[in-house]
């Protein structure tokens, strides 16, 4: 007899959602874990990237059955590297607004055509698609001599659903640590389905609220570390801070 990390969750779900077939339970468990990881950045890993002079795009190494959600921070030779669009480097944001610090009046006080300030020459990074890191300014032996370290947030990949291994390559400690969150979330999704033997809108709302509440707590806890008393409640607006 084997004992897989998903067993405890699936056993509990089988009892609590009578009639739900196992592939349905696994699919919704996968969906809720994906949502949880994408919201909380709970699954993190430091990925070293070997720089090559003149190359801009680098695939981000990930564990099996995992996909990149976001890069949290990066460093090179023990120094933090700013993402493109941050105030420390050239001007790029999702709104396309140039950085105010570089252009205090909002006017072109610097003639960029005459300047050597060019985003492509500044050592910075950006993530235009989840699995590739774009690093600019990779030039010189002193740059390529050290690996570029990126702290990445991961989520479960679709390939998990094809795997029969039962652990989906998620770090083992998470199955116990986030058991209640994933159980509540999966139950909320299952109970909220239309015209199923296990449909129950009242329980769906109850478990969805528990899931959202716990996910907010976990998001703060992960940023501040697993230490007692760190997350608090913000008043009067509400929400974990």
């Amino acid at each position: 007899m084997t004992c897989e990390p998903t067993d405890r969750l699936l056993q509990t779900l089988r009892v609590r959602t009578p009639g739900a077939p196992d592939p349905m339970l696994q699919l919704e468990l996968f969906n809720i874990m994906d949502e949880f990881f994408r919201r909380t950045s709970a699954w993190q890993q430091e990925s070293p990237i070997e720089l090559i002079e003149g190359q801009m795009d680098y695939p981000i190494p990930t564990p099996p059955n995992a996909t990149v959600v976001r890069v949290l921070w990066a460093k090179h030779n023990d120094l933090p590297v700013q993402p493109a669009g941050s105030s420390a480097v050239a001007s790029q944001s999702s709104l396309g607004i140039l950085d105010g610090q570089l252009q205090p009046d909002g006017d072109s006080i610097i003639d960029f055509s005459l300047s050597d300030i060019n985003a492509s020459n500044i050592f910075s990074w950006a993530l235009y698609r989840p699995d590739y890191l774009t690093i600019t300014g990779v030039s010189g032996q002193d740059v390529v001599a050290y690996p570029f370290l990126a702290q990445i947030a991961l989520s479960v990949a679709r390939s998990c659903l094809d795997a029969d291994c039962g652990d989906w390559d998620v770090p083992e400690w998470m199955w116990d640590m986030y058991f209640q969150e994933w159980l509540d979330g999966t139950q909320a999704r299952l109970y909220g389905m239309m015209a199923k033997p296990w449909s129950n809108q009242t329980l769906a709302a109850y478990h969805a609220k528990r899931f959202r509440d716990r996910m907010g707590y976990r998001k703060q806890e992960i940023m501040k570390g697993f230490t007692w008393g760190q997350p608090g409640w913000r008043f009067p607006k509400g929400g974990w801070v």
Binding site: P18, G19, P21, D22, M24, L161, A195, K196, P197
Partner: protein, 119 residues
């Protein structure tokens, strides 16, 4: 091994409820398997999750001799519902041995088992 694994087992169980176990049969094998095929279509409409992950619809050939050893890929929790569907569909035909109420009850039971917790 759970019950109702193969086409042959569905035929046998359906005949038991139809009281059609003596040769020559009142309901031919091909009709019973056709009803099973239609039942699978109905189930796909009512409960798509039963056909995860690829949503492939099983279909059993009724031209020629029925291969009774073919497995019917269905979650064990819902296999008996298909027997009720097959029986109900068989009894929909005009037959002195059956009644419309019984056929309707069987088909309703199939839908009920698909959508609610009842046996």
């Amino acid at each position: 091994m759970p019950a109702l694994e193969t086409v042959g087992q569905y035929i046998t169980e359906s005949r038991r409820l139809l009281q059609d176990q003596i040769v020559p049969y009142r309901y031919p094998d091909t009709d019973i398997v056709d009803a099973l095929n239609v039942g699978l279509l109905e189930a796909r409409r009512l409960r798509a999750d039963l056909f995860l992950p690829l949503f492939d619809l099983p279909w059993f050939d009724t031209a020629g001799t029925i291969n009774t050893s073919l497995p019917v890929p269905m979650d064990p929790q819902y296999r008996s519902a298909f027997v009720y569907y097959v029986v109900g569909r068989m009894q929909l035909r005009d037959d002195e041995n059956t009644t419309d109420q019984r056929a309707a009850a069987m088909l309703t039971k199939f839908v009920g088992q698909m959508l609610t917790i009842q046996s």
